[in-house]
């Protein structure tokens, strides 16, 4: 009998009921909630006189709308303020633990789950947010759902799902120095295209993945959705276990060793068969950026704006105000954003600070560093990273989604060009008319210093 994939192991242990055909009722171990996709779901519960089945499997945080300037400043936008208040009221009414703005555990939903140790191997984790795929880095099946499904999970602790297919994405070799997890995932999406992962759960494996830290694996799984995949996964290894040890949400002491023993079995069997396999040689990858308006439109940071291949490319070039053949190192940038659930963890901030230390942001650039959570912020400050950034001319801000999307005051103005460590370069994503280029934290920092797209000095 052929071996079993990690996906299959998790799926099988969460089937509550299989309906006649395509849908399975899957049990949800952890439901993460934020202010944007939940208000209408809570309303639905109220209308139907339903309760939250498992408040002890539900955790809420404020992230998308929170301003990232001084915590004491009131929220100027009345609609944002109202949405955050409604989250408070709903969590109160339904008995859900909430980390509101300014709370010590508050942060971007996909940063806090892992750092609190509540996102754990083997779990089914959902959230009304497509980047829930992030938590797959822990060997969990984690995927985004819509508001109707949020209501469904609140009421039943289950979600009806059609079974996805499995794809192994094997990264052989070692990534060259200067090639980060962000470059790996941009390289993967560039190859697969925005629809290449559609209908699949992608499991990342191979030597280049084993070498990645948990932060790197989260960056990778985070952007699986940009290839159209339902979820991303990495099998459990000692890196996973070491990261989780001592975290608030896991058992402490000997009880941890016991559960870790179970978690170690959460890997695909050697002879497991996937529905589809892709092999990429990581040693051939280089630092990348996106030049267009979808995350598969990638190019080398040290290269030039590519020739368009089709109408969609031409449209993207026009929107991005770019001319083929121009070197990225000759393109000035207005804003550098280091943050978002893709790249706002401590390791990301360390990488950016390494590049920034002792230098200064170029005169034409506004550079923001937005830690993913208060815990990340505190950790960074204890390492003195905030000072490095401030001295180099970066803004050091309060946690939140910030400039990843235009829902809070951190936005691009029309025509402004950004180098951003976030995950989406869609038209207007960072503010109406904004021109977004996705990059790694190291490239973002180097770009802030140079004023045009740049590689960190030691890599160029």
């Amino acid at each position: 009998m052929a071996g079993v994939t990690l996906f299959e192991k998790i799926w099988k242990s969460h089937v509550v009921a299989s309906n006649d055909d395509a849908l399975t009722t899957l049990y949800v171990d952890l439901h993460l909630v934020h202010e944007v996709t939940s208000p209408q779901a809570f309303d639905g519960l109220r209308l139907n006189g339903r309760r939250v089945r498992r408040p002890d499997r539900t955790l809420a945080t404020a992230d998308h709308n929170v301003p990232t300037d001084a915590l004491t400043a009131p929220i100027a936008d009345p609609i944002s303020r109202r949405q955050l208040e409604v989250l408070n009221e709903n969590c109160q009414e339904f008995g859900i633990t909430l980390f509101p703005r300014g709370h010590e555990n508050q942060g971007i939903v996909h940063v806090i789950g892992p750092e609190l140790g509540v996102s754990q191997p083997g779990m089914v984790i959902v959230c009304g947010d497509s980047h829930t795929s992030t938590h797959g880095a822990f060997g969990a099946l984690a995927f985004g759902i819509g508001t109707s499904e949020v209501e469904h999970v609140l009421a039943t602790q289950t979600v009806p799902q059609s079974k996805p297919r499995t794809m192994a994405v094997t990264l052989t070799g070692s990534a060259p120095a200067g090639v980060t997890a962000k470059d790996l995932v941009l390289g993967i999406i560039g190859r697969l295209g925005t629809g290449g992962g559609a209908g699949y759960v992608m499991e990342y494996r191979g030597p280049a993945i084993s070498q990645l830290s948990m932060e790197g694996r989260m960056t990778l799984c985070n952007m699986s959705i940009e290839a159209g995949a339902r979820a991303g996964l990495v099998g459990v290894d000692e890196t996973t276990i070491d990261y989780l040890r001592g975290k608030p949400g896991v058992p402490q002491g000997p009880a941890f060793d016991e559960i870790a023993e179970k978690w170690r079995r959460l890997i695909s069997d050697d002879d497991a068969v996937f529905d589809h396999e892709v092999v990429i040689d990581a040693s051939q990858l280089v630092p990348l950026l996106t030049w267009g308006t979808n995350p598969a439109q990638v190019a080398e940071v040290s290269g030039v704006v590519p020739e368009p291949r089709d109408d969609a490319d031409r449209r993207s070039l026009t929107y991005m105000q770019l001319t083929p053949g121009v070197r990225f190192s000759d393109i000035p940038v207005d804003v550098v954003f280091i943050g978002s659930c893709t790249n706002s963890r401590i390791e990301d901030l360390r990488a950016a600070a390494d590049v920034a230390a002792g230098h200064h942001v170029a005169a034409n650039v506004r550079a923001l560093v937005v830690p993913g959570s208060h815990r990340v912020k505190k950790q960074a400050e204890s390492e003195g990273l905030d000072l490095i950034f401030r001295e180099a001319g970066f803004e050091w801000r309060e946690p939140g989604c910030s400039m990843c999307l235009g829902m809070n005051p951190d936005q691009l103005s029309p025509g402004q060009r950004s180098a951003s460590t976030s995950n989406r370069n869609f038209e207007g994503r960072q503010g109406r008319g904004g021109l977004t280029h996705l990059v790694s934290p190291a490239v973002a920092a180097a770009t802030a210093l140079a004023g045009t797209f740049a590689l960190p000095k030691d890599a160029s």
Binding site: N19, V118, Q252
Partner: protein, 212 residues
């Protein structure tokens, strides 16, 4: 959800690929806590452009959106579905859809009709030439057709989705009919998968000694 049997109307060609949900409803609109009134936000950034197809008076009464591959990728925002429906769309026809968008649509009764790219292209040509072309989508038979031209295509529709659409079933109600199965499942599963119980106090602070 209201039952959906047959959807009939004229179509509007949106000849673009990768129409992500950020374009369908820009994030500024997501701050609202209501479920209605999103129609005004539909494609709001594109609608400023007078040449944008939704601004073409020939398509003012269209109720079926015909678009390029990978429609509705990106963010999980169900607001995209609410906006399309609030604006007056009853169906979207495209060669492929974003996963979550497709799920969200099925919960609201917005039909997502997936047909081959060549068929989508010919449909676009037909409605570009004659915006008054009447399109009929039949849920029970999973067909899309233009009776006047004898043009007809079949599309995939799982039995489950079809039944839900035809009956207008409420998913939550359906699941709760099997509540005892959930309870049984929990009785053993709770031992395996840890919950948040005991980790945080009422104020959300970590209860036990936090070594991290």
């Amino acid at each position: 959800m209201k039952p959906v049997h047959v959807v009939e109307g004229t179509g509007v060609p949106l000849n673009r690929s990768d129409v992500d949900t950020d374009q369908i409803i820009p994030s500024d609109w997501l701050k609202r806590v209501e479920r209605t009134g999103f129609g005004r936000g539909l494609f709001s950034e594109w609608r400023d452009d007078t040449t944008f197809v939704l601004n073409d008076p020939n398509y003012a009464s269209a109720s079926i959106l015909v678009a390029g591959p990978r429609f509705g990728t990106g963010s999980s925002r169900e607001h995209a579905v609410w906006a399309l429906m609030d604006y007056g769309f009853t169906a979207v026809v495209a060669p492929s859809f974003g996963d979550i968008f497709k799920n969200n649509s099925s919960k609201q009764g917005l039909l997502t009709v997936e047909i081959d790219e060549v068929d989508v292209t010919s449909l676009m040509n037909i409605i570009s030439e004659n915006p008054n072309t009447l399109i009929t989508i039949d849920v029970a038979n999973a067909t899309i057709e233009i009776a006047a031209l004898g043009w007809s295509r079949h599309f995939e529709l799982s039995r489950n989705t079809r039944e839900r659409l035809l009956n207008g079933w409420d998913d939550i109600g359906l699941t709760l009919r099997h509540e005892s199965e959930i309870t049984t499942f929990e009785s053993h599963h709770d031992l395996e998968a840890l919950s948040l119980r005991g980790i945080f106090d009422a104020g959300g602070h970590v209860v036990h000694y936090d070594q991290s």
